[in-house]
């Protein structure tokens, strides 16, 4: 399969949108594009299984490599393994749900959908890139449109939030770029030239001093995207001001770019440094998990609740990566997928509530179950996934991380694992608090009695995300098997490096 299609289809969709007239056309075009993309993601999955069952053990499948800028040895090198496919599937799911949720966008619909679809080009490109420069290029594509989406269609302190988000993510990008340069100039392909090629760099042994110097740049840079403490403060502001679909994309996919980068670039290419610095990663991740959860406890705005809970949940991703065991890394990737689906569902539910009640403040809501049983059920399901109920993806991901992390016998790491386990109690408390205040209880505002329940597009959007969550929750073995070879490659690489 030609992976470039994954970039081309959203690209074509987004440009086709520019020529659309009226909301109807815009909807049809963007929905069709997303649907085709979803089909493509499934075809990719099927082809991947076929290759693997046929005995193809290459690290990356469906590779293609074109020279882009020969003077600096920059290539358009793409390929996928199970990890990338999982992320691509996630992106396709979240995109289709996001488009359906924005179905009734009225102001400047064309521009809105254009930016939304264009964002996904960046995400897809990022997940299939095997050339660090190309990867960085796609990472940047996914920052600027967010600035516009929040600034134009946002709510609340939108200018401030848009600026904050853009600046902090740009700051992250700068760190990543410095890290990439550092790597690049310390590679040697044998004929004196340097390379950006991920797989080639992985084969070289980058000197430990170089790793020590540049690992923090890459890890923190990518970490900012995935809400690494203390660089997570863009998350609450960004989410609370962003329109629903942008929130879904931001939390569902953008934050995963960071986690993916931390794993695929920082940890994979600089394993010794990752090993040496792992205690710092664990420390920051544990702080993010526990502190994020506590900060969520008393929030009043639903979006702030979900934003802080995202900080906590993304902490699990970093924890899993920092533990450096096969199980924990598999769990980290699962957590990325799970959190992506769950948080998108959560933001979708919040958006549905907001468009009807025009408030996100928990003290103004209450008893919504009576007026809107469907939306309330969606909210509860998202909540249950968030607190890691068996049968949802959250449980599978968290348990895999815990089991993996416990393999690390270092006392500090054990303590971190126990704290992470304990944090699911705090998660339970804030989720039940939100559900109790918003969904259950007596109706606080009499106007909420007559509000309409979910429309077909909202049901479709929520349904597709719930299917994703439950598909992992009930039958996690397929995801485990999908991720297996990819995480094994990474972990073997790390073990080899540490052994030397």
């Amino acid at each position: 399969m030609n992976l470039s299609l994954l970039i081309l289809i959203p690209l074509i969709t987004s440009f086709a949108l520019l020529f659309c007239k009226g909301l109807k056309q815009v909807r049809v075009v963007s929905f069709t594009g997303a649907l085709v993309q979803l089909a493509l993601a499934f075809i990719l999955l099927a082809l991947y299984w076929q290759e693997r069952t046929a005995g193809n053990t290459a690290i990356m499948l469906f590779e293609s490599n074109y020279r882009w800028f020969s003077a600096l040895n920059i290539n358009y090198h793409i390929g996928v393994d199970g990890i990338s496919i999982a992320m691509i599937l996630l992106t396709a799911f979240v995109m289709i749900a996001g488009i359906l949720i924005s179905w009734t966008t009225e102001s400047m619909a064309k521009e809105f959908f254009f930016l939304l679809v264009f964002l996904s080009v960046g995400a897809y490109g990022f997940f299939i890139s095997l050339d660090l420069f190309t990867l960085f290029f796609f990472l940047e594509i996914s920052v600027i449109p967010k600035f516009l989406m929040i600034g134009i269609w946002g709510s609340g302190k939108k200018e401030y939030s848009a600026m904050k988000l853009a600046l902090m993510l740009m700051g992250g990008s700068v760190l990543v770029f410095v890290g990439l340069m550092g790597l690049y100039f310390n590679t040697d392909t044998g004929n004196g030239s340097h390379t950006f090629d991920l797989l080639q760099i992985a084969q070289m042994n980058i000197a430990v001093e170089i790793q020590r110097m540049f690992f923090p740049f890459l890890f923190i840079g990518f970490g900012i995207f995935t809400a690494l403490f203390p660089f997570h403060t863009w998350v609450p502001d960004g989410h609370s001001s962003a329109p629903t679909a942008a929130s879904m994309f931001l939390a569902g996919i953008s934050m995963k770019l960071g986690g993916y980068g931390c794993l695929r670039v920082a940890t994979f290419l600089m394993p010794e440094a990752a090993h040496e610095y792992s205690w710092i990663i664990i420390l920051l991740a544990t702080i993010a998990i526990v502190y994020g959860a506590f900060a969520t406890l008393m929030q009043k705005d639903l979006k702030y609740i979900n934003a802080y809970s995202s900080v906590s949940h993304c902490g699990f991703v970093l924890l899993g990566i920092g533990m450096l065991t096969q199980g924990s890394i598999t769990g980290a990737v699962m957590q990325m997928v799970s959190h992506g689906l769950m948080t998108a569902l959560f933001f979708a539910a919040i958006g549905m509530i907001y468009t009807r009640t025009h408030t996100r403040m928990v003290e103004q809501l209450g008893g919504l179950m009576k007026a809107m049983p469907f939306i309330s059920t969606v909210f509860v399901i998202a909540g249950l996934c968030s607190l890691g109920l068996p049968g949802t993806s959250g449980f599978v991901a968290e348990m895999t991380i815990f089991m993996g992390s416990w393999q690390n016998t270092n006392t500090m790491y054990r303590v971190a694992t126990i704290l992470a386990c304990a944090s699911i109690l705090i998660t339970t408390v804030y989720i039940l608090r939100a559900v109790g205040l918003v969904i259950m209880g007596p109706i606080k505002n009499a106007d909420h009695n007559g509000l309409a329940d979910g429309t077909w597009n909202e049901k479709f959007a929520a349904g597709i995300l719930i299917i994703g969550i439950v598909a992992i929750g009930i039958a996690p073995f397929w995801l485990n098997e999908l991720l297996g070879p990819g995480t094994q490659t990474i972990i073997k690489h790390i073990e080899k490096a540490i052994a030397i």
């Binding site: 997570h232 506590f294 969520t296 599978v396 386990c421 109690l425 339970t428 259950m440």
Partner: protein, 641 residues
């Protein structure tokens, strides 16, 4: 042996019910949802009985010893080459006994609810949740893997949460549902860490392998007993933490606070979940890995014993002062589960030593029937008087004869009066305690007297005492509400005669059962004393109880307030966690952490503001800077180099 597919149907049929009613119930089964769920469960129950018959009497013991049968094993999630969650169904005496109890009691509750919940707006939702619970509970008892049991453990927790909060617009119900879920989740974290510890050292999650490895000398056992943390071996840690999960679900002190509040749910739910099935899951969990406790972890087993004994006494004392009839029953449940726990705690593994284990399972079995009967009767009473408070009741025996007789039978059973079922199981428990631990025996004996007292206090207050304000004629309830009462009353009378010691023992070998008449004099006479005392105080309306209460003063008040344990928890959560951690954390994040980021931005902005004047675009200024620079450099070169 019935083919495994049949056995799988036992939990899967209620699951199907959940999906059918959850997805389409609101639209298509508005009135018929009760029938759909009950019908599906009826098939499950018949299958359970069939499997039970086959296991116990046909092919469970190929050579005189009951063997576990593992069916339908498949790998659900592979953590590492050795450790994986393998979903499987395990049939052994306790799991077979449990599927019969769960499906049977659940069926009774389903039937009872047909009448009790009739006309509810969310009738279909109610049955969907009830089906989800039944599925989870059946899955829990059939689990062959410790992680599998944890999965279903959480699922029963959430179904309990959903059902307690069924009346979602009642603030008390919302608060109770949250409390139940959070407290049990706290306990589950212990369970989870316990699993992590055991699984890491034993390198397996499978029950039979785990028990095999940890009950005979093996490198895994050595690694668990030789490594320690804070002077306590990892084995004891692991087992105690797993027990913590069990204590949370089974409402053992100090994790019991959720159970009385859980009575906010519909009464049939209390009968099923918070009396007969889910709350005994903790006992079941300890019984499931009992060989490890008994053979390798006596220290952890002691924790089980003392927790059980203490909880049973504490709950019985509190029950004497409560006025809400469902709360009295809730504390009595806690007290009876305490019995089951300490019975496990005093038990040994092989042969005659296993009496405590057998007694515990026996009591679990009989308790399920008489306690669900008590709750369903209470439900019928509440249905009639529309109140949970004793003061609104009295003299109801004329209005509801069937309920009255059933309730009396159940009270006699729980008080331990022969020949009702509770007598036999309690007798075995006390005997087992007598043989191994005197203090526990005395606690058990004393508690059994208290039990008789508070149960008959309840009985007399509801059915005798003052004359009722109600007017004849009154219809006692629909047929569907009466049938379960009658069936359960019959079960309460008859289950005591089940020869449990030949069926359920720790090692599968039958043991001699002995009901010793001399031994039973003490508990039975204590129970009779309790009953008489209750009759003296509560049979006729009088001021004696009030006088006694006021003469006890502060002591009575402390007991009535449940020893202020709830208040302590509230203080910790509201004052400490919410106000001293939650709010400050949010504030710190907004003002300090984010403040630093903003400060950085402001600093950048100000600096730019300051130095932007330098780039003024005026050639003269640039020339000035240039020459200034040259002079400076010259200065440095000449004087400082």
């Amino acid at each position: 042996m019935p083919t495994p597919a049949y056995i799988a149907l036992i939990p899967l049929l209620p699951l199907a019910g959940f999906f059918i009613l959850g997805l389409f119930g609101r639209k298509y089964f508005k009135a018929s949802s009760g029938i759909v769920a009950t019908g599906l469960l009826l098939i499950s129950t018949v299958l359970s009985l069939y499997v039970g018959y086959h296991y116990f009497f046909v092919d469970g013991k190929p050579d005189g010893v009951y063997q576990p049968i593992v069916a339908l094993e498949y790998t659900w999630l592979q953590f590492s080459p050795k450790v994986s969650i393998d979903m499987s169904i395990v049939l052994d005496p306790i799991s077979v006994m449990m599927i019969i109890v769960v499906s049977f009691v659940s069926l009774m509750v389903h039937i009872f609810s047909l009448g009790y919940m009739k006309g509810e707006e969310r009738f279909a939702v109610y049955y969907a949740f009830l089906s989800l619970f039944t599925f989870s509970m059946l899955g829990l008892v059939l689990s062959g893997n410790i992680f599998q049991i944890y999965i279903f453990w959480e699922l029963v927790g959430v179904s309990s949460y959903l059902l307690i909060g069924y009346y979602f617009n009642k603030p008390a119900a919302v608060a109770a549902s949250k409390k139940a879920f959070i407290v049990t989740r706290l306990a589950d974290i212990g369970f989870l860490i316990g699993i992590l510890i055991l699984a890491f050292h034993a390198e397996t999650l499978d029950f039979s392998t785990l028990i095999g490895k940890l009950t005979s000398p093996s490198p895994e056992l050595t690694s668990l007993t030789t490594t320690s943390f804070m002077g306590i071996s990892f084995l004891t840690w692991g087992l105690t933490l797993v027990f913590m999960g069990g204590a949370g679900k089974s409402a053992m002190f100090p994790l019991h606070i959720w159970l009385p509040d859980a009575m906010e749910g519909p009464t049939p739910v209390s009968a099923l979940i918070h009396a007969a099935t889910m709350v005994v899951a903790g006992v079941y969990l300890v019984a499931r890995i009992f060989p490890i406790f008994a053979i390798s972890g006596p220290a952890a087993l002691e924790v089980v014993m003392y927790t059980g004994a203490f909880s049973s006494l504490l709950a019985a004392i509190i029950a004497c002062t409560q006025t809400d009839i469902k709360r009295v029953l809730a504390y009595s449940t806690m007290s009876q589960i305490g019995y089951m726990m300490f019975a496990l705690g005093v038990s040994g593994y092989g042969g005659e030593n296993g009496l405590g284990y057998t007694a515990s399972m026996f009591h679990l079995f009989t308790h399920a029937f008489f306690k669900s009967l008590l709750f369903l009767c209470a439900g019928a009473v509440i249905h009639l008087v529309h109140s949970n408070e004793m003061k609104d009741m009295g003299g109801l025996r004329k209005f509801m004869p069937i309920t009255h007789v059933s309730f009396l039978i159940a009270c006699l059973a729980i008080a331990g009066i022969p020949p009702f079922s509770g007598f036999f199981s309690k007798e075995e428990i006390l005997l087992a305690a007598y043989q191994s631990s005197m203090p526990v025996y005395i606690v058990g004996l004393f508690t059994s007297g208290l039990t008789a007292f508070y149960m008959f206090r309840l009985y007399f207050s509801i059915f005798w005492n003052k004359e009722s304000q109600l007017h004849q004629p009154y219809n006692e309830g629909t047929l569907s509400m009466k049938i379960p009462l009658i069936v359960l009353a019959i079960a309460t009378v008859s289950t005591g005669f089940v020869p449990f010691s030949t069926l359920v023992t720790p090692d599968g070998k039958a043991i001699e059962s002995h009901v010793d008449i001399v031994f039973s004099i003490a508990p039975v006479s204590l129970a009779l004393a309790g009953i008489l005392f209750a009759a003296f105080l509560y049979k006729k309306e009088n001021q004696k109880p009030v006088k006694i209460a006021s003469s006890l003063g502060g002591l009575y008040h402390a007991v009535h307030k449940k020893f202020y344990i709830d208040e302590i928890y509230l203080f910790i959560t509201k004052k400490i966690i919410f106000n001293l951690i939650g709010r400050p954390a949010a504030w710190v994040d907004r003002n300090i952490v984010d403040g630093l980021m903003n400060l950085l931005a402001t600093f950048t902005g100000r600096t730019a503001e300051l130095i932007k004047g330098i780039q003024s675009g005026k050639i003269q200024n640039y020339t000035l800077y240039f020459f200034g620079g040259v002079v400076g450099l010259v200065f440095i070169f000449i004087y400082l180099w």
